[in-house]
Amino acid sequence: MDYKALQSAVIEGDVEGATRESQRAIAADADPKDILNSGLIPGMEEVGRRYEESSYFLPEMLAAAQAMKAGLAELRPLLGEQDVEPVGRVALGTVQGDIHDIGKNLVGIMLEGAGFEIVDLGADVLPEAFVDAASDVQAIGLSALLTTTMPAMEQVIEVLKEAGVRDEVKVVVGGAPVTDSFAERIGADGYSPDASSAVRTVKELLGI
């Protein structure tokens, strides 16, 4: 089956089109896993590519995310029926003291668009909440915008160690003032400068 129209609807941020094309594929008895893997995911990959090469910016990416979510909403019940597992589970949160969550949300969108399931812990998240989430996920993503909340990232890693679960999850950090060397210094497993490359980082760390 050809999923070009579905891919285009995602890429163009055409919410109605993504719903319509997903419904059409389902009605034609396409495998929902195939609709996801050959329609929605390649669409979001193209969105990520366009964002990285700067032909897309935040509004186009958010519009595409809405289209992707509209398509996914059609597929979800069927994927559930077939027990289709996500490629991985990632918990995301903005660290304690920091409520700036757009970067974290973008990372969530791009991971979801790559077939991951997201456990969104929200903004201003206590370290303990990351520990609680650790048993259900393979990776944890920490975000901070303020220099004054960066130390809270290190604290999350400490608390994960104290709880004895640090080795069970990969920890990836990001946010405006965060750098590769900061990530290394606090003992994170990975760092990404933007949402699109965060998908690559998480996949590499999880061997996907």
Binding site: V15, S54, P59, I102, L146, T147, P177
Partner: protein, 387 residues
């Protein structure tokens, strides 16, 4: 103070604004409450003042502190600001609510202190039709005492005066709608986005007109914003979207503000604040009549100070440039000294540069680093620049 100074602080700033070389690179700074208290304690300054912590946890710097530290510019509070809360729509948990019905909350930081942030945007679920019914602020008159404060600062100090009056359009829409919703609107609901910006621009322009009539003669730099348009890596919106959708609304406010300012003070300049990687917009902004740009976020992609000076230095004044994401909070005093040296070397030749930290100085910046910044301006900033 050291150095061979021949100009008053204001003369120094005016020369820089007019693209002439002053005696020394002028310096400015905005600061949050904890960093301000730490700096005052470090310098042993004991001025009695009622610290009114405002948006983003910033505080106005007392003229005596500005003078002792060596600032050349003082930012006075918005002359329209009456500090009043409008309880009608207010969540009791909010610390305060502004005139646009944006609610500000105290968000505690681990390790002490807090930061004022916005939550629960007032137009999160609004439609175009709802915009007519929203309790918009009246384009009000200046607050009591504002005229005196501006006049007295002009008469009793030799500091150049900066203030904001009407302020942002694009970024205010972000606050009122909520960030994710607003940026989705720009792509999927441009009709709403345009209607909201038109409404805000109309009010902001009228506020500028009203207040500039009263205090305009005392204002050297009118801050138009913040209109943050960059991320760490790239602009938030495409230059095409800026020109097609956003520019007409900003143009209305900028043109109105500049005309109203020049009518009162022919030497006055307008300055845009826009964080992040904004290099692709600068040519458009100059075309729109902008005189000065803040904060030159040097840690963002494409904000190379040598290249910016080369490309725009004859037409645009740069304000800012001292890194606040790495150097000021995490660097040593020597790192700060080298940072200041580089920015002066890149941006100061020929005038057109007012040195300042890129962002409101946060509580994690040691006073020693601010003193190092000030001392480096003294050490490297004397004209002619020879670095």
């Amino acid at each position: 103070m050291m150095g061979n100074k021949t100009m008053s602080r204001r003369e120094r700033v005016l020369a820089a604004l007019q693209h002439r070389e002053p005696d020394r690179v002028p310096m400015h700074m905005t600061i949050t409450v904890d960093a301000y208290k730490n700096l005052k304690a470090h310098m042993g300054i004991d001025v009695e003042e009622d610290l009114k912590v405002g948006r983003w946890t910033g505080v106005p710097i007392h003229p005596a502190v500005a003078d002792a530290f060596g600032l050349d510019v003082i930012r006075l509070p918005n002359p329209l600001d009456k500090g009043k809360n409008k309880p009608a729509l207010r969540d009791p948990e909010a610390a305060f609510i502004d005139e646009w019905h944006c609610q500000w909350y105290e968000v505690p930081r681990p390790g002490g202190g807090f930061y004022y942030e916005m939550k629960n945007p007032p137009l999160a679920n609004a439609t175009v039709d709802d915009l007519d019914d929203f309790p918009w602020p009246e384009p009000e008159e200046v607050a009591e005492g504002a005229e005196e404060r501006f006049r007295e600062t002009r008469e009793n100090t030799d500091l150049a005066i900066m203030t904001k009056i009407g302020g942002a359009v694009f970024e205010l829409a972000t606050y009122m709608r909520g960030m994710q919703r607003w940026y989705t609107d720009l792509a999927l609901n441009p009709e709403f986005a345009g209607a909201l910006m038109a409404k805000i621009a109309e009010i902001q322009a009228q506020r500028d007109i009203n207040a500039l009539k009263v205090v305009g003669k005392s204002i050297d730099i009118l801050r138009l914003s913040g209109e943050d348009m960059g991320t760490q890596e790239k602009p938030l919106i495409s230059p095409k979207m800026f020109n097609d959708l956003v520019r007409p609304h900003l143009q209305k406010v900028w043109t109105t503000a500049k005309e109203a300012l020049l009518a009162e003070n022919p030497q006055g300049k307008i300055m845009l604040h826009s964080c992040g990687s904004v290099r692709p917009f600068i040519e458009d902004w100059i075309e729109m009549g902008l005189d000065a740009l803040d904060p030159i976020q040097v840690s963002a992609k494409g904000m190379d100070t040598a290249e910016l000076k080369e490309s725009f230095g004859e037409r645009l004044v740069f304000h800012g440039g001292v890194d606040t994401q790495q150097v000021l909070p995490f660097g040593t005093p020597e790192d700060v000294r080298q940072e200041v040296r580089k920015r002066i070397k890149d941006l100061a030749p020929g005038g057109g540069y007012i040195l300042a930290p890129v962002h409101n100085v946060q509580g994690d910046v040691r006073p020693e680093n601010l003193i190092a910044m000030r001392d480096a301006v003294e050490a490297f900033g004397t004209y002619p620049i020879d670095l």
